[in-house]
Amino acid sequence: MEAAQTQWVRVHPLVVRITHWINAFAILIMVASGWRIYNASPLFPFRIPNELTLGGWLAGALQWHFAAMWLLVLNGIVYVTYGAVSGHFRRKFFPLTPGAVFHDVREALRGKLAHEDLSVYNAAQRAAYLAIILCLVVLVFSGLAIWKPVQFQEIAGIMGGYEGARFLHFGAMALLVLIVLVHVVMVILVPRTFPTMFTGRARRAS
C-alpha cells in the first residue's frame, strides 16, 4: 500500500512534457529568426528591433529558420499523433463550448478562476492551447507556401498567392506570440503549474 501523506496526481504525460519543451525551443528560434527575415522587407511600416532577432543578418536568419523548421514540424508530428491516438486531445481539450470559454476567460480576468486540479484544463486553457496548435498548423502551411510558391502553388493559391501567404504567416505568428505571452503570464501568476511541466505530477489539492 502507498503511504497516504502525499497524494500525487498525474498532470502531464511524458510525451507532452518533452514535446512541449522542444516546441518552446523551436518556436523561440523560428520567431526570433523570422523577425530578422521580416526586417529585410517589412510588410508593415515598422521593423523589429535587431536585438530581439536571431541570425545577425538575413542569410544567418534564413539558416536558423530553415534548420529549426524541421525540429518544429517533426516534433509537432509526434505531439499531434500522440494526442490523437492516445485520446489525450479528446480527454484534455473536450468538451469545449464558446459559452464555457467566455465564462472562464471572464473569471480569469477578474482573478477568480479556480484551478485546484491541475490535471484538468479549464475552458480558457483548452481554447488557448487549441488556438496555439491551430496557429502552428497555419504557420507551417503558409510557411510552405512562402518557401515553395511554385512547387506548392495549390497551398499558396488558397491563401491568396505568395503575397497573401506572407500576410497570413505574419498574422498567425502575431497571434501565436500573443497567446504565448498570456500563457507565460498565467504561469507566473500560478507558479505551481511550472514544475509540473518537468515532473509531470502535482500534489492533489486536499
Binding site: 527575415i37 529585410a40 510588410l43 541570425g55 536558423w64 510558391p149 511554385v150 502553388q153
Partner: protein, 252 residues
C-alpha cells in the same frame, strides 16, 4: 618604488588569493559572455559548431528542394496588366553603379562539358527562336514583383550547343563580377529562359543587358544578369551570395 614593493609583497604573500580572484573574475566574464552570446543571435551564429550545424542543414535543404522540384510544374503566369511598374532594380550594388556592357564587342563564352564551345555574339543569340513569359520574381528578402521577359528557351540553347545535360551544375560569370550556379534540372525547366528583352524592349543595363537567365522556379538572386560566361560542370561552382551563406538551391 613604494608601489613596486607593495606589488612584490602582494605577489609573495597572496599569490594564491590573487589567482583565485582572477579565476573568479574570469569565470564571471565567461558567464556574461555566454549570456551575451545567448542574447545576441549574431554571436551565436558566428560560433563554429553552430555554424557547421546550420551549414549542414542548408545542404540538407538543398537536397530536399531537389526532390521537391517537379520538372513539369509551371510557375503561374500573369496578364500584362499585372506587371509591376516600375519594376524594382536589385543587385549587390547601387543603381548608380550598374555596369555598361558594349553590345558590339560582346561575346558569350562557353566552357566545360559542352560540344560546341564557339562564343556567341548578340546578333546570333537574337536570331534564335524567342518566347516570352510574365512571371513573379520573388526576392529572398521577401518582396516580389511581376515582370515580362523574352528570350530563348534555355533547354533549346543547351541542346544547340551540345551541353552534357547529365552534368550536375551550370555556373555563370557576369560582367558585374557576380557569379551564381544552378542545378541541371532547373536549367532544363520549360520556363527557364535566356532572356534578352524586358517588357518587350532590349534589356536596359539596370535589368541586366545584354542577357539575364530568367527562372521563375528560383529566387531572384539565382537569376544572373549581364552573363558573360557559362560552364557546364560536375564540380560545385558556388556563387557570390551562396559563398556567404545563402542557401544554394533557393528554389521557389
Amino acid at each position: 618604488m613604494k608601489k613596486r614593493t607593495m606589488e612584490t609583497s602582494l605577489a609573495n604573500h597572496s599569490g594564491a588569493l590573487i589567482r583565485s580572484i582572477e579565476r573568479r573574475l574570469f569565470l564571471k566574464q565567461s558567464l556574461s559572455l555566454g549570456a551575451l552570446a545567448l542574447l545576441s543571435g549574431c554571436e551565436l551564429t558566428d560560433d563554429e559548431d553552430v555554424q557547421s550545424v546550420l551549414m549542414g542543414m542548408s545542404s540538407w535543404n538543398d537536397r530536399v528542394q531537389g526532390w521537391l522540384f517537379n520538372p513539369n510544374k509551371l510557375a503561374p503566369e500573369y496578364p500584362e496588366s499585372a506587371i509591376t511598374r516600375p519594376f524594382p532594380f536589385n543587385a549587390y550594388y547601387g543603381e548608380d553603379e550598374v555596369r555598361l556592357v558594349d553590345g558590339k564587342s560582346y561575346k558569350l563564352e562557353l566552357s566545360g562539358q559542352i560540344r560546341e564551345k564557339k562564343p556567341w555574339t548578340l546578333p546570333e543569340l537574337y536570331a534564335l527562336p524567342q518566347t516570352s513569359q510574365i512571371t513573379r520574381h520573388i526576392c529572398i528578402e521577401g518582396w516580389s514583383a511581376i515582370g515580362k521577359w523574352s528570350g530563348v528557351r534555355f533547354s533549346d540553347f543547351l541542346a544547340r550547343i551540345g551541353a552534357d545535360t547529365t552534368a550536375k551544375y551550370i555556373g555563370f560569370e557576369c560582367a558585374d563580377d557576380y557569379t551564381t550556379s544552378i542545378d541541371m534540372a532547373t536549367a532544363l525547366h520549360p520556363q527557364t529562359l535566356l532572356t534578352f528583352r524586358f517588357a518587350d524592349q532590349i534589356l536596359p543595363p539596370k535589368y541586366g543587358f545584354p542577357m539575364k537567365l530568367r527562372m521563375p522556379t528560383k529566387l531572384g538572386f539565382k537569376n544572373p544578369k549581364h552573363i558573360t560566361a557559362m560552364e557546364v560542370t560536375n564540380e560545385y561552382p558556388g556563387g557570390y551570395w551562396e559563398d556567404q551563406g545563402y542557401n544554394w538551391y533557393s528554389g521557389s
